[in-house]
């Protein structure tokens, strides 16, 4: 297959640039990013994964990327990348889902990997991380640290991944602090530092002393630092510049092992369409160091929770849990399934106690 492709590529190049033929036996891996590589969060970590691929394979691989690709207009950049002879393309945002599937249909010989989505095809794999496991640890620390009992949450888009995070954080905050209340702001953006800062300020002005964010920039950290007494958590990346306070811990996405393994599979010709969803246990979700601003007892509890989630001994969604409308979701001891009607993959409801509504989309 690859030989044939190389031949075709060489034939095509023969009419054009002769020099480019040197690249023919390299595996070319492309990345489509939703934000700039310097966002310090989500896209930054994907780019670290790209660099890990380069480091692992050296001369045998060539990587390309396009940053700040608009979710509503992603088909063009993805098509262009496929046309340029890339063997494997990672599209790294939920909103790229339909565009990825559409382009993949036109390029059956190119392998695609879509992050955080659910539409698989013969040449489209999906992969995601169980960020909600990290949210459970954050929720625990948040519930213990808040004095005002108001926790602010900067959400991005009302998609299952974000809703899972809110539910998981709420359940575990409520468990240690029954009086806790969540205030949720939908920013409708993954990356807009000024808006994220405004959202953080609005939450702080309304009494929140812990801010959880599901947007990609470090702006909320800066806003919390300025306010002085507000706790935050790093999102997607460690955001360690804001440690030990306001950032007391973080969720770190580690895509590097997955990207290296998938590139290897393409090189070996063993690539198959798969659905991967790994958590703390597999190392795809990391919990950033819990700083000394957190009391030692709380830190120990949070670490125990992290380890229980990693070993699989505890599931972040364990019954009894009711939905927001009071109906039973999970019975005593029951854990949430990944797929199905009430599964995590398509989660579109809040759990009981959250006083807010999910926007329709």
């Amino acid at each position: 297959m690859r030989v044939l492709k190389s031949l075709l590529a060489t034939a095509a190049l023969a009419t054009g640039l002769a020099g480019a033929a040197m690249a023919e036996d390299k595996t070319k891996v492309g990345f489509i990013y939703v934000g700039p590589v310097g966002d310090g969060g989500w896209t930054y970590e994907h780019d670290q994964g790209r660099k890990a691929v380069e480091a692992a394979f050296g001369d045998k691989v060539e990587t390309v990327y396009v940053e700040s690709v608009s979710e509503s207009n992603a088909e063009g950049p993805i098509t262009q990348m496929a046309l340029s002879g890339v063997d494997l393309i990672f599209t790294t945002s939920f909103g790229f889902m339909d565009a990825t599937v559409a382009v993949a249909e036109k390029f059956p010989n190119v392998k695609f990997e879509h992050a955080t989505g659910y539409k698989q095809a013969d040449n489209v794999s999906v992969y995601s991380a169980r960020f909600y496991e990290g949210r459970a640890v954050q929720g625990h620390i948040a519930g213990k640290m808040t004095k005002s009992n108001i926790i602010g949450y900067i959400a991005s888009f009302p998609i299952p991944e974000v809703i899972r995070g809110i539910n998981s954080a709420y359940i575990h905050a409520k468990k240690v602090n029954p009086d806790v209340q969540f205030k949720i702001i939908w920013a409708y953006t993954w990356f807009d530092p000024a808006k994220e800062a405004d959202a953080a300020k609005a939450l702080i002005e309304q009494g929140a002393d812990v801010i959880l964010q599901h947007t990609d920039s470090t702006a909320p950290q800066a806003a919390a630092k300025e306010a002085g007494n507000v706790v935050t958590f790093g999102q997607a990346s460690d955001m360690g510049d804001y440690a030990p306070f306001p950032r007391v811990s973080s969720i770190i996405d580690d895509w590097a092992p997955y990207y290296v393994a998938r590139t290897q599979a393409v090189m070996d010709g063993t690539w198959e369409s798969v659905s991967t969803w790994d958590g703390i246990g597999a190392g795809m979700v990391g919990i950033g160091e819990i700083s000394d601003a957190v009391p030692a007892g709380v830190k120990a509890e949070a670490e125990a929770l992290r380890d229980a989630l990693a070993s699989g001994e505890y599931h972040a969604f364990t019954g009894p849990l009711n939905k927001q409308d009071g109906s039973v979701w999970l019975a005593e001891g029951e854990t949430a399934a990944d797929y199905g009607d009430n599964g995590l993959a398509g989660m579109n409801f809040y759990v009981e106690g959250i006083d807010s509504e999910i926007p329709s989309n």
Binding site: A194, A202, G207, S217, T218, A223
Partner: protein, 307 residues
């Protein structure tokens, strides 16, 4: 839902902060367009101002020097546009778009070493006596100096445009450059100065985001503020006080909608999220319904001094 959770004083105070970057960029662009030039590179000049202001602010430890540097950087970048458009007669729309792309790339390059660094804080300036007035004091008179500077720039712009000879010439050049040229005015020189002013203001607006509002450097951090500024100039009918109104409306509703969401008001979030755009456009259109609100006559047109 509990509206009582929203503190109106804090809300109005943060309104002014949220609106200042757009206000600065928009007032500069209004002057550029009044002189008959359409510069779509506002976003590029803002982001360049943001990174240069941040870099200089961090290195000198003085945000005020950062702001001055940002103004110069914005003006310098705008001169690139000025020379291309005025002397080499390139297409204004294409050149402006190019300037935006160039500014975004340039700022990412300059900004690489500054990612994750914290900005020096800009002390609030409490206006003596006035800041002690209940309610009004915290809203209006306890801001960082740039908020006042932006208001002074708006007032001066209005005064110069409406009340001085220089403003009359600038408007004349924008309305009909051939007539202005026939009268002996230096069309290109006037426009070059207007473009430099617009660039400096955009640079200040960008630096306000990186030094005060966020405050840190993040690649692509202006995130479209320059385009909002361009829209506000049009909806404000190129008038300085309406630019102020438009920017404060937009900034105010942006902040208000976040507060309403946090307070759990039972308005669909989708409606709240689009409200800043809708209401700003609506209000300015309603105001413009009466009276003269046409664009400058020579806006975007090429000028040849030969005939």
């Amino acid at each position: 839902m509990d509206l009582g959770q929203i503190n109106p004083i804090l809300l109005l105070a943060s309104l002014m902060v949220a609106a200042t970057p757009i206000l600065l960029a928009a007032i500069g662009e209004a002057v550029v367009e009044k002189s008959g030039v359409l510069n779509l590179g506002v976003e590029g000049m803002m982001i360049t101002g943001a990174v240069v202001g941040f870099a200089i602010g961090v290195n000198t430890g003085a945000p005020s020097i950062g702001f001055v540097a940002a103004a110069f950087a914005g003006a310098a970048l705008s001169m690139l546009f000025g020379v291309l458009v005025l002397y080499l007669k390139s297409n204004q729309v294409a050149t402006g778009l190019g300037l935006t792309l160039f500014g975004l790339g340039l700022s990412a390059l300059i900004g690489k070493p500054f990612e994750g660094i914290k900005a020096p804080t800009m002390a609030k300036y409490e206006v003596p006596l006035l800041s002690d007035i209940p309610a009004l004091g915290p809203i209006l008179f306890r801001h960082d100096p740039m908020v006042y500077v932006s208001l002074i720039i708006v007032a001066l712009t209005w005064y110069v445009l409406a009340r001085t000879r220089a403003g009359l010439i600038l408007r004349g050049v924008g309305e009909n450059h051939d007539a202005a040229h026939a009268l002996g005015y230096k069309v290109i020189r006037v426009r070059l100065m207007a473009i430099a002013f617009g660039g400096a203001c955009a640079g200040l607006g960008g630096a306000y985001i990186s030094l005060v509002r966020v405050p840190q450097w993040v690649e692509g951090m202006t995130a479209g503020a320059g385009w909002i500024a361009l829209a506000i100039v049009v909806f404000a009918s190129w008038r300085p006080w309406r630019v102020l109104l438009g920017a404060y409306l937009f900034g105010g509703i942006s902040v208000l909608q976040l507060n309403l969401q946090a307070a759990g008001v039972a308005i669909p979030v989708e409606v709240l999220a689009m409200s800043p755009y809708l209401i700003t456009i609506l209000v300015l259109v309603v105001i413009s319904l009466r009276g003269n609100h046409g664009a400058p006559g020579s806006l975007g047109r090429e000028f040849h001094a030969t005939h």
